[in-house]
Amino acid sequence: MNRYRDAFETLAERGSPLGAQALLERIKGTSTTSTAVPAPAPAPRHRLSGPVVAVAVFAVVLLAGVPLLLLRPNGTGTEMVDPTDTVWREFPEDVMGFAAGPGGFIGHAYHSGSSQIVFSSDGVTWTPVEFPREPDYEPPPMAGPQLRMAVANETLWLGIGPENEVTWTSTNGRDWSLVEVPEELATRFRDVAAGGEVFLATISDPFDELPPTLWRLGAEQWERNTPVGFPEASDLEDGHLEIAGGGAGFVAVLSKPDGSFATWASDDGSVWTPGVPVEAPEPNPGQRGASTWVIDMPGGWMALNFAFTDGATMIHVRTSTDGLQWQLQPDPPFSYRSESFFEVDGALTGIDGQAAWLTRDGATWERLRTFDPPVMWALATTVDGQTVVLYESEETANESPDTTIVMGTPFEEPKPDPAGTALQDEILADGVDTRAEYETAVAAMVACMEDRGAIVDEWSIDPNEDVSTEYSGADADTAFWFCHRSYVDRLAAALMR
C-alpha cells in the first residue's frame, strides 16, 4: 500500500455525495451534502497519510560484457542481487532511467525535490542537459521534468516536452535543438516509433473523429505523411493502433481486446503492406481483455500477446521475419505476472518476478539472473561494444535519493538438470492433469536443492499452485533457482494456462 493510495481513493470519490462529504470533512471539519468539488481556496495543507511512498531503485547491468553495473539506493542494505557481484562504488545521484540512444542514456536526476534532465555515456557519470525554450509555449504550472519522453533511432535522439507540445532533436544526447510541432500533431501523440533514420508518430482519436494519421520526422521537421495502404478509421473498431520500429523498418499493429491482432509492414513508413490477421486465442476463464506488443528482433519481429485475467497475465509469443506472417512459438518457460519485458541488444528479456529470461529467437529462453526487489521497467543500449541495461525496481521503505553502483561479472546460468527436464517432459506429455504430478515435481525440486547443500525446512503448494519453500544455506538461493528451473518452471507455466 503506497502512501498516496489514500489520496487517490479520496480523489476517485470526489463529486459523489459520499466522496464530497468525506473530502470536505477531511479538509474543513464540516459536513455537507453538496455533490460539487470544493472550490479552490486558501486552506491548511494536509499531508498524505499512510505508509511511506514507494521509492524507485535503479540499476545498470552489463549482461553481455564483462563488467556488471548495478545502481542501488544507499540505505537499502548490501543484499547482493547476484552472488558474482564484486565491487561497489558510490554514486551521488538519484537518476531515473529515461531512454537509451546514440552515445548513452538520458535520465532524470533528483535534487532536493526538483528534477533535472541529465545525460550519461556510461551509466556512471551524469551531466545536466539544457533544452532551448519554445518562445510561444508556456509549460503547465505543475512540478515536473522538462522532458516527458525521449526516444532514439540509430543516429538521432528525439525529446518530447511535458504536454507533447514541444520536441527537440539531438545527435549526441547533450546538445538539443527545437523542432516545431505542427498544430494538428501537438498534444495528440503519445508514443513515437524510431526506425532507420526516421521517427514515425501516429495519432488517432475516434472520439474527436480523427482518423489514423501518420507523421514523419526526418532530421529537421515533422511532416504529415500520406501513406499508401495504412489502416483507416474503419479498420480500428475498438482496437488500438501502435507502431513498432527497428532495423527492419516499421510494423503497425492493431491490437483488439479479444486478443486478435493485425499488422501492416513498411520499410520507411510510406507504403504499407497488410499482413495475415491473427485470430484471438481461446480465452482463459475470467479473461477481461488482451493486448499485443510488437518489438523488433534480429532478422524480424516478435509479437507478445497478453491476455489479462485476475491475478495473472498469460502470454503467447509469435515471431515473424517480415511483420506480415506470424508463427506461434512454444510458451515461455516461466509464469508471467505482470512484470517487465525489455529489449537487450536485439534480444528480449522477460522479468518474471525476480528472474530475468532472455530470448533471441522467441522460441528458446535462457534464464539470466535474479533481481531483488523485482524490476519495474528497463531499457538498454550498447556503449563501446557492451550492452548496458538500466532498470528500475521498486522499494517501499527507503526515501534516500542516493544510489550506489556495484560492478561485477555476469551471472552464468548452468544448464538445467537433465533428470528434471526429463521429468517435466514426461508430465507435460499428456498435460499436468493431477495435483499429485505437480507435487512429485516439487518434491524432486526439493531433493535437488538438498543434493546441492541447501537445508529445506518446509515446502508447500497453495491452492493457486504457488510453491512456497523455506530454506537456508550458503548457496541455497542458487540451488533454488537451478532446481526450480530444472524441475518445476514449465509445469508451473502450464498450470497457469
Binding site: F8, T10, Y110, M142, G144, F207, F308, S338, W377
Partner: protein, 141 residues
C-alpha cells in the same frame, strides 16, 4: 467509470460530466453492445475527453498568461486538500498510477486501456511516483 473520471479530470470538472461526455462520444462511434471490452473503451473515451478539456484549458491559459504577464490564472490556484499533489501530475500519470496501484490492473492492461506502449506506461508510473515523492519531500521541508 466515475472514479476514473474523477482521477483524470481537471479539479474544476465534475466527473459526472466527463463520464457523460465519454458515453456520448463512444455512442457516436458505435453501440456499446458491439464493443468487446466496453469498460476499457470507455476509459479511453474518458481520458480522451479529459485531454480535450486540458488542451482547451491550455490554450486559454497561454492566452491569459500573455495578456496578464506572468500572473497565474484563477484555476491554477492550489487545490485545498490532501489531493493537491495528485493534481500536479499529468492526467495520464494519474490515470496510470490509479489503474495500476489502486485498481490493480497490470501495466500491460493499463497500456491497452490508455493506448500507450508498455514502456510508456511504466515510465509514466515511475515518473508519477518520483514526482509525488519530490512533492512530499518539498512539503515536509
Amino acid at each position: 467509470m466515475r472514479r476514473f473520471a474523477a482521477v483524470v479530470g481537471r479539479p474544476d470538472v465534475d466527473p459526472d460530466d466527463l463520464v457523460q461526455e465519454a458515453f456520448l462520444r463512444t455512442l457516436q462511434v458505435r453501440p456499446l453492445a458491439e464493443l468487446v471490452a466496453p469498460a476499457a473503451y470507455l476509459r479511453r473515451a474518458i481520458l480522451s475527453a479529459a485531454n480535450t478539456q486540458r488542451r482547451r484549458f491550455g490554450r486559454t491559459r497561454t492566452a491569459l498568461q500573455k495578456l496578464r504577464g506572468s500572473a497565474p490564472c484563477a484555476a491554477d490556484a492550489e487545490y485545498p486538500s490532501d489531493v493537491a499533489e495528485l493534481f500536479r501530475l499529468s492526467a495520464t500519470e494519474r490515470a496510470v498510477l490509479f489503474l495500476h496501484d489502486v485498481e490493480g490492473y497490470s501495466f500491460e492492461e493499463v497500456g491497452g486501456m490508455l493506448e500507450m506502449s508498455n514502456g510508456a506506461v511504466r515510465m509514466a508510473a515511475s515518473r508519477g511516483r518520483r514526482r509525488l515523492r519530490s512533492l512530499l519531500e518539498e512539503a515536509e521541508s
